[in-house]
Amino acid sequence: MASTEIAVGIDKVVKRYGPVTALHGVSMDIRENEFFTLLGPSGCGKTTLLRCIAGFEDVTEGVIRLKGGDITGLPPHKRPVNTVFQQYALFPHMTVIENVMFGLLRSGWSKPEAVARADQVLQLVQLGDFAARRPAQLSGGQQQRVALARALAPRPQVLLLDEPLSALDLKLRQAVRMELKALQRETGIAFIFVTHDQEEALTMSDRIAVMSEGRVQQIGTPREIYETPLNRFVADFIGETNLLDVDVRSVDNGMAAISLPGGHCFTCPAAAVVQSGKGHLSVRPERISLCAQGSGDLDATVEGQVYLGTDIHLQVRLADSERMTVRLQNSETTAVPETGAAVGLKLEAGAARLLAD
């Protein structure tokens, strides 16, 4: 499992492109032997940060350390980290084994040693029989594994992965997730994985850094990120949620007393940064159950439903005219209320959480 020693330290890194600032003083520590994910929407700065770690981008301000040593100014070829590229970037004019040996030969391995090591890594990714092929003769999944093998062969201290699954089709992507996770365990080095796919992040990561607009929004385990999001962005980006604007009356010991615009009042857990005044209430749709009107926490009217196969999304409107989505498991026993029906909503423990902006 992940140790507490730090593999990569990012300290107040700023990256500007002319007038555009891509990273606003980002700090984080990636631990040894950890599957660490940079998660965020397009343009959030996650790829820029990865490229700064790899050395493809110069850092405007701040320091990047590898195992305690400052690598901020080093060119890519002097950094003992390797990258799996989004489009793999396998050298088309070389065979698979030549691709894998490339980094070995450039970093001072002798040819026989390099051949042996390349064979070994290709076995690891189950491509031992494909050594003499050209990348163009391989399938997308095989190319992806060659890219992994090529990056792992020189025994990097940290492996960087730039959306390596995005070029694969959906079925294959799901299978590769588990392989990748197993590979990380096996190699025992830190993987820094960039993705915009929250499901990928949640299933594979030891810890996730959620980024938005060049800033880190939250760092934590998948469970922490999903269940106790720090702010509105994280709650909205990870999973689905209902966000209601509310008045915060008081905050005491992590619990807040709030009132909805319609006047309905109740207490719920609050993120640490929330203070009295305006706030956002996040209610996960799968943690709401239906009951008779008046017997739940909130009353609502059914406005419509969306059929999704495994689930049914029920659109409801609260008395104070706020809209919410309730997720119902689709089973034979599920009773779906008619449009226009009056229902009560029962919030499970931890379903609602008060967030800052």
Partner: protein, 305 residues
Amino acid sequence: MAAGAPMGEGSASNIYRGNSLKLMLPAWAMIGVFLLAPVAMMAIYSFLTKEFRGGVIWQFSTAAYDQFFFNRGLFGDEPPTIEWTYIGIFWRSIWQAGVATIACLLIGFPTAWFIATRDAKTRSVWLFLVTVPYWVNLLIRTVSMKFLIRDTGPLNEFLLWSGTISEPLGLINTNFAVQLGLFYSYLPFMVLPIYAAVERYDFALSEAAADLYAGVWTTLRLVILPEVKPGIVAGCILVFVPSLGAFLAPDLLGGAKTFMIGSLIEEQFKGAAGNWPFGAAASTILLTIVMAVLLVYARNQNRGA
């Protein structure tokens, strides 16, 4: 691309950043020393005094330009009047190049259009057929044309034999022969840029025009021509500019009556005239005209963008 570098700077790579000057230096040096400096030297030469039988004396003089524009009589003591001989040669060159350009356009546009609307496989074969002659030595092509259209050449022989004509056409050594030669020399330069423009043309626009009751020729005039205009303009420049300073076609296909700029200049250096400053002045004037045409073109390009 997800996240990362904003695309503001264009997607230009900077992977070898910091090496720009080192990498550009050979090109700068070669073109700077052996083209830019020579052109400057040529402009200087045009203001020097001529040495008989070639060469110059390093003494400032505007005699070359004076000779070009003014007539001061046989002994140089009459009041100056405009000298039309050389201006006339320039004017004729512009006229000849213009006619050749229009001919190239009239033939080149339908050809480019036809090729660009073939399916991908046959298209590359047609394109190949049109470009092959361009790769053949220009001198050989011009000589071939001369051979073909001579009064005793195969064309006239054939027409006489078949009874179509009773006397040779007398094509050689005419303005028409020069125009034909220029047309023949630079036609591919017209076809290729128009082809590229037509290939980018979105045929949904033609469908929209047809849907809105435009016939084929109306569509051509109102929709297609404005869309492919950049290609047409580029093609015209690529034909007009080299035609203007052409030497081989007027020299081999035209006679003394069809003298063009290229021959005028050549004569000052290689021929009997041997007046270097005058040749340099004529070259400088030609270069000025060409640069003006290119500048107007570049300005319009920028405005369009």
